[in-house]
Structures are given as C-alpha cells and as structure tokens.
C-alpha cells in the first residue's frame, strides 16, 4: 500500500492551496480530484472559439502593485505569482433598476464617496460616517478581532474593535436604515448582497462592509486565462514541489482505526495509507458518506443541525458575435433588479418563477484576451437554491433549464436589449450542474447559508476525528479569497500536527 503524509480530497480552491502548502512545507502529499481538471468552481470550459470563466467574477484581496494587499504575498508564498497575470477592473459595479435607478460605482473609495454625495447631497454627512464605519469594521475584522477573540477578552474588544462591537453582527439592513433615509441609496450600498445570496435583512453587516471596502480599496480583479489559470498554476507549483495528483479519481472512503485517520480508498479500489486527510469536499459528504464510521461524532452532528443549505447558482455562459461596445456594456459587472425590494428578490431564489434580479459580467471589457477579436464573453447569473431543481424530473430537465434561461435573459434584456441577437455559443448551468461538478448537496457554491449564525466566530473547528481536516467554502466564508486562504491555513495546522507526531515517534 502506498503511503503519504497527507491526502487532499478535491482540487477546489482550498484543496489546491492546502495541497501546495503541504507539499512545499515538506509533507508528501497526494491530491485526488474526481473531475478531469483542477479548480472545482475555479475552472473554465471551451465552446467553439470561446473559453468561459465558470465562477470568478471579481477577485478580492490583491491590492495594486503599488499598494499590495494580503493575496499578493499569499500567492507569492505558494509559488504562483510568476505563473499568472492579474487584470484590474475599474468599476465596482453598475446597478440598474429600469425606470428607477442607474448608477455605476467606481473602484475607488473616495470616488464612491464623491459620487454618492453628489447624488444624495441631503445625506452627505451620513455617507461620510457610513463609509468610515465600513472602513473601521473591515480593518478591525482583519487586524484586531482575531486576536481579541482568541483571547476572549472584553477589554481588548473594547479597546481594539470599537466599531466591530457596535455594528459587526447586526443585520446589514438595520444598519443601513439607521444611517440613511433614501431607499435607493440603501439599494446602491447593499448591492453586493446579490453575490452572497443572503438578503440584507439576514446578512451580517460586517460581511457587507468588508466586501464594499475591500473591493473599492484593493480593487476587483480578473485572472488572465480565467480562474482556471490560477488552478492550473497551483497544480504546477504543487507538482514542482514533488506532489502527486490524480484526476478522474474520486475518493470513495476515508478509513479510521483507533479513532484516527489511517487512509483512503480511491475510485477503482486502490487503498492509500496516510496520516492526515484534508477534505475539500463538503463536510456533509465527508462525514456522512466518505468516513467509515456508522454515524459521525456527536459534535459534528450538533454543528450540522444549526446549519442550513446555502445557495447555488443558475448561470448562462454566452459567446456573443459582437463587441462589448455594440452590446452597450460600459462596466464589467452589472446588477439588474426588477424591483427595489431586495427581500422579494431573495424570496424568488427558491423558486422557478421568473427571477427578480440578475447580474451580467463581461470578461473582455477590460481583458481583450478573454474573447476572440470582435466578440464578447458574457455571463449571466442569478443565484438560486438547489431545492426546487431536485424535484424536476429527468425527462423535463432540459426543457425546464431552457425555460428558466429565457426568464433570466428577459431580465437582462431590459438593460442590454441586444444580448440575444448575437449569440454564437451558449451553455446553461443549473444548480444540478453545480451539484454534478462540485459534488455538493444542493449544488451549493458557497457551502452552508452564510447568515449571521454561520459565522466562524460562533463555531468550533470540525476536528472530532484526529487527522481529518475540513477546508473549503463550508467551513469558512464562501468565495475565492476566503477559500484560497482557508486551504493554506488548514495546511499549516496539518503540518504542525504531522511534525508533532513525527517527534513523538522518535
């Protein structure tokens, strides 16, 4: 039987950074992926002359070359900084509610302030204060909160995290109501809720504040060649360090003996021995299906009971035979609402009724290499919960998918009326598609639902089985930056434990 120090199950963002950090940290690592290509969500596929980005709309945390932020160092340390190229987006987003509102926020903190103050002069002072609160809450949650919370110290919280104390866990809706009178201004500032699929009434204010501030200050980015390029670069770095990878190969069981991890069985029957397993697969699959225990440990089941299934996505990938200009696109990311009422938009995410909101990303507006000359790569998304799709019979699946796609296109068409007439390639992904490629219950793309109760500050690590580690969207916030970082920090914990075990044995 082959033996490795660690086996990583799944080559999604967290699996890739975990495997790379483990191998580079000196632990012999096997990375196993069911699919034929690395990335999980962070992947691309080709149709005709187009290569479609599957999931990355805006990468956060990079900062500019002059003012770098955490992710530059991070990628540097994983050995991929010289293997990928980043492209900056110059606007945060355009929000359009036809007949009501049409505004484009620049990717600049002071620019946003100036724009909003000129649009809503009566609320000028509130805007000033609100933006200060966003900034402070973000900085505190990155810099001081982790320390204060580890120390469980009221004094530290009071002195080091005053803004977080006042606002952190309150619903975003409530905080916006406290600051502003104009409903549209609140819509503009809350727009990012649509990325997360958690309505402003349920979204912890800190999550919204962090997104807004971090994207504006550290800028939104794309990756040349798509997020697939980063996934492939991480595999390259992993292989260079001596790691071994298997694609088209699922893990079918995780073996324990005497209460700790001993190895895994692979699709096809081969058994591998190892001291640690990092699972990038959903903890629901990991504990309820892969682990060889009759029932998962009580602590894990307890944690699961307070979780709710997170959102999936319905996505239309469009290769258009026209330029972004001809389509009328002026910023890479647009959000389009049918109504100003976000709660209604959110409620629709659980049904097959026409969506009330959607987004459009045009990848070649800022990166001409993202589409053939004269053409456009455009992706339409509305987040959806997977539940309703499970009841669609296989016979009706294709038709249901096209019918729903028509409904989403109808929303987008109100702002970009030409989106339909230039179609050259189209692919539609439903929550069931996500389920197929990610192996996640409900086709979830961010793991569990990210309302306040999901926060890591209310949770303990799912570490009831020694040697088994979880890394991915399910045990941290979903999205690119959080999952990249979660994999690497999990690897650090594993390395520490492996080292401790080795010294025990000598």
């Amino acid at each position: 039987m082959k033996h490795y120090d660690a086996v990583v199950i799944g080559a999604g963002n967290a699996g890739l950074t975990a495997a790379t950090a483990l191998q580079r940290g000196g632990s012999r690592t096997l990375l196993v992926e069911r699919h034929n290509i690395p990335g999980g969500c962070a992947t691309s596929f080709v149709r005709g002359n187009f290569e479609f980005e599957v999931a990355l709309h805006q990468l956060s945390g990079l900062g500019t070359e002059e003012k770098p932020f955490v992710m530059r160092r991070f990628f540097e340390q994983l050995g991929v900084m010289d293997k990928v190229e980043f492209i900056q987006e110059h606007a945060l987003y355009r929000l359009v509610v036809p007949g009501e509102l049409d505004v484009t926020l620049p990717a600049s903190w002071s620019g946003i302030r100036r724009l909003l103050q000129s649009m809503y002069p009566a609320e000028s002072e509130a805007i000033e204060r609100f933006m200060l609160v966003c900034e402070k809450v973000t900085l505190e949650s990155f810099m001081t909160l982790p320390q204060a919370s580890r120390a469980n110290s009221e004094a530290m919280l009071r002195s080091m995290c005053p803004y977080y104390l006042q606002y952190g866990f309150r619903p975003a809706r409530e905080v916006l109501d406290e600051f502003f009178a104009d409903a549209r201004l609140k819509n503009i500032l809350a727009t990012y809720w649509l990325y997360l699929g958690v309505a402003p009434s349920m979204l912890p204010f800190a999550d919204l504040a962090t997104m807004l501030y971090a994207y504006a200050v550290f800028k939104p980015w794309h990756i040349k060649g798509g997020s697939q390029a980063m996934s492939s670069a991480l595999v390259e770095s992993f292989l260079e360090a001596g790691g071994e990878v298997r694609f088209n190969c699922g893990v079918e069981q995780i073996h324990t003996a005497d209460g700790r991890i001993r190895g895994v069985s692979l699709e096809g029957g081969e058994r591998i021995a190892c001291d640690a397993v990092v699972s990038n697969a959903s903890p629901l699959i990991t504990f309820n299906e892969l682990l060889d225990l009759e029932r998962p440990p009580a602590k894990i089941r307890q944690d699961f009971k307070s979780r709710r299934m997170g959102t999936s996505a319905f996505v239309i990938y469009l290769g258009l035979d026209c330029t972004p200009g001809e389509l009328g696109v002026t910023s890479a990311s647009s959000f389009i609402y049918e109504t100003l009422d976000e709660e209604q938009i959110h409620a629709r995410m659980g049904s097959l009724e026409p969506p009330l909101g959607g987004m459009l990303t045009c990848y070649n507006l800022e990166d001409p290499s993202a589409a053939p000359a004269g053409k456009s790569q455009v992706v339409l998304v509305c987040l959806q919960y997977g539940e309703v799709w499970k009841s669609v019979s296989p016979d009706r699946y294709a038709q249901t998918k096209y019918e729903f796609a028509e409904k989403l296109i109808a929303v987008i068409e109100k702002v970009y009326p030409k989106v339909r007439q230039y179609i050259e390639e189209v692919e539609v992904a439903t929550p069931l598609t996500m389920m197929r490629y990610l192996n996640t219950p409900g086709g979830a793309i961010y793991g569990f639902q990210q309302s306040a109760q999901d926060s890591a500050l209310l949770r303990e690590r799912l570490d009831a089985v020694p040697g088994l580690y979880m890394a991915g969207a399910w045990t941290t916030m979903g999205g690119f930056q959080p999952t990249y970082m979660a994999g690497e920090s999990t690897a650090r914990a594993v390395l520490k434990q492996l080292k401790a075990r080795k010294s025990e044995h000598v």
């Binding site: 149709r47 995290c161 952190g168 296989p394 179609i423 209310l458």
Partner: protein, 387 residues
C-alpha cells in the same frame, strides 16, 4: 460557547447565537440526504452505463444499427437529440472506445440506437459490424455533446447537411420534432456516394411525404448510369438552388471531415454567418500534417518513443493520436468525444513536444502549463507524459 464569551459584547452577536441555538432545535444532521447528490446526478449524467445489445438492424451493406438497452432493463438517461455516447470496447486485448451519435428518438428512453458505418482503415467499426451479437454487453459514457438544437438561439427554421452516417444525429433530431410536435421545420440535405448506401432511405422518404415541415433533398455523388435523382458534388449553385433564401436559419453539419469543411465554406460563400453553423466533432484529423503549424521535416510515419512517467515506455508513430497509442499499449485515460472537445483525456506533457491540431479545444492555461488532449495530440518526437 461558555457563559463568559466576550464576543457577546458585539452588537447582534447574542441574537446570532440564539438564532443558531433555535436552528439546532429543529435542524437535522443531514443524514436524510445521504447519497442524494450521487443519486440525483446519476439520473442525468451517469459516468458509465451498462448496456446490452437487444437487436441488430441491417441498414445498408456497409451500415448497421445496434439497438442497446440498459442491462438492468430500466429506462436510459434522457438526452438531447443529436448527442452521442462513447462506447467502450475490448478488441484483441485492447481497451478502447468510440463516440457514436444516438440515432433514435429521445422521446422513448428504453433503448438507444447506434448506427455504425464501416470506416475505411477502421478498427472499432469493423468489430461492431462483424463481431457483435445480440445479447452482448457493453459499457458506455452517458449522453454527451453540444451538437443539438438549442431553443435559446437556434430558432425554428433548421437545415441539416448530412454526409453518410451523419444521418444518425439527423434522424434523432427529426424524430424528436415529430414525437414532441415541435414547431420546427427541417430541411435535410443528404449526401451519399452510392445509391445502395443511403442509411434510413425508406424511412426518411416516407417521413418527408407525410410531414409538411420536413424537406428531404438527396444527392448521390457517384450515381449509377441512368440515375434520375440529383447527383454530383455539392457545390455552390446546387446548394443555392436547394436553399433559396437564406434568412436566419440554423445549419447543422455532420459527415466526413472533407464534407464538413466544404459545407462550411460553401455556406460562407452564400452569406451564412458562421454563428449560424453548428458542426459535429469528427475524431482526430487524418492529415494533421496538412494543418498550419505542423513542424517541418516530421512525417506521420516517423517512429517515436513514448514514456509514461513512472510506469513504462513504448514505441509509436507520429501519425497515431496519443490516446490510441496509449490504449494499444495497455494504458488508460478517461475519454468521451475523442475529438478534442470534452477535455476528459487531458494528460500532462512532461517532456518533448506534440502537435495540437485545430481540433484541440485547449484552454489557454492548458497550453501554458503543458496539458494536452491526448485524443488529438500527435507526438512529433520522443515524449514523456504523466497520466
């Protein structure tokens, strides 16, 4: 959490903790959805199907249809008319596979028909035509491929240009229209070399007689003496005459590579936008050395050595697609389209170089990091790969 949790100072935190407790009271440990992902996905996209030959239909002297049913007698997964399955076979100890379009209607799911025409110099088609018997078992991929009607932009006015066995997906698309009573009209322009080689001839002619929305135009390129029907090569004027006004029709092309290429250029000359033309994949190119970028001085017959990292090495020919060479030497790589489209056969090129023909739909990052699609990769010298 303990009672002296300092985080309770954070506004909203106690409420969130209480909400978490409340959820815990009526929540579940998700045991009830155990296995659900697998069982949901497998209904739509099984990785493998276990099939059995139920009937064999002799179509023409060079073609027969294998009617395949599920080994367990259940309904097969749904598919979109025009899609294919990849059929795995073992011939003389070699494990390989070939994709075949499903020629039956997607409306009935008790069987898939695969219509197999003898391919000159072929390996698998001979086996399927000469050695397969009723009752024999096969394994295949699930239905795959993007060569099907897409209601989001194809419209209802369709033209199918079929050459020889290209009639297989055309038949499925046609039956789907009739069986579901769809509003589409289809004009099938059907080319064959010889009169005795026309697959589904009687059935298609009968359907054309009965259905106003289906037009059949047959062309025989090598007619016997005194043949009264339309004959000769498909050229611009013949196509123009058959099509009339181009309008906003959607064109589907499926046949031998040379046929596909000539149809694309003829349609272009007639003013059809490239985005209104869909072409079915067609395996690895037979003459990669005629494509742009082929390295000078390398011939298809040159011998090369292929090393599979950590496992072994063997000799092969430049002109043999890497996947086939691997299979002939006892190695396996997952595959489905065998035409450079699905990327399932992706392997890493560790050393040496291969020619990636235009058929290879590589991702940008595959090129950058040396990943190749083995089904359409031609080793132009000694190489080492990682499976």
């Amino acid at each position: 959490m303990s009672e002296q949790n300092a985080l309770n100072l954070i506004a909203g935190y106690p409420e969130a903790a209480a909400a978490k407790l409340a959820l815990e009271q009526n929540g579940s440990d998700f045991q009830e959805v155990r296995g659900e992902v697998g069982s949901t996905v497998v209904q739509l996209h099984p990785k493998r199907l276990a099939l059995r030959v139920a009937t064999i239909i002799e179509d023409t002297p060079s073609t027969r249809t294998l009617r395949l049913v599920a080994a367990d007698g259940q309904a097969l997964p749904p598919f979109q008319a025009g899609q294919y399955i990849n059929l795995f076979v073992e011939i003389d100890g070699v494990h390989t596979a070939r994709p075949y379009a499903i020629s039956s209607s997607p409306v009935q799911r008790m069987h898939y028909d695969l219509t197999v025409k003898r391919a000159r110099g072929g390996f698998v088609s001979h086996y399927l035509l000469d050695h397969v018997e009723v009752g024999q078992g096969f394994s295949s991929s699930g239905p795959m491929g993007t060569f099907h009607h897409n209601p989001l932009f194809h419209g209802d006015d369709l033209v199918f240009l079929a050459g020889g066995s290209g009639a297989a997906p055309a038949r499925s698309i046609l039956l789907n229209i009739f069986d579901r009573g769809l509003p589409q009209r289809l004009h099938m322009i059907y080319l064959n070399s010889h009169v005795d080689d026309v697959i589904f001839a009687d059935e298609l002619r009968e359907l054309a007689r009965r259905h106003e929305h289906f037009t059949l135009s047959e062309v025989i390129s090598r007619p016997p003496a005194g043949y009264a029907g339309r004959s000769g090569r498909l050229n611009r004027s013949m196509l123009q005459e058959l099509l009339g006004e181009i309008g906003n029709r959607m064109f589907y092309i499926c046949g031998p590579t040379s046929f596909n290429d000539s149809c694309i250029s003829l349609l272009g000359e007639l003013g059809v936008a490239r985005r209104r033309i869909r072409v079915e994949a067609n395996g690895a190119p037979k003459a990669p050395d005629e494509q742009h970028g082929w390295p000078e001085g390398v011939s298809l017959d040159d011998e090369v050595q292929i090393t599979v990292q950590g496992r072994g090495r063997f000799r092969s020919k430049v002109g043999e697609p890497l996947l086939n060479a691997l299979e002939r030497n006892g190695y396996f790589a997952e595959n489905a389209c065998r035409s450079g489209e699905c990327s399932l056969c992706r392997v890493k090129l560790v050393a040496g170089s291969v020619f990636n023909p235009q058929e290879a739909r590589l991702r940008t990052s595959d090129r950058d990091f040396g990943w190749i699609y083995s089904c359409v990769a031609f080793p132009t010298g000694d190489i080492e790969v990682l499976l």
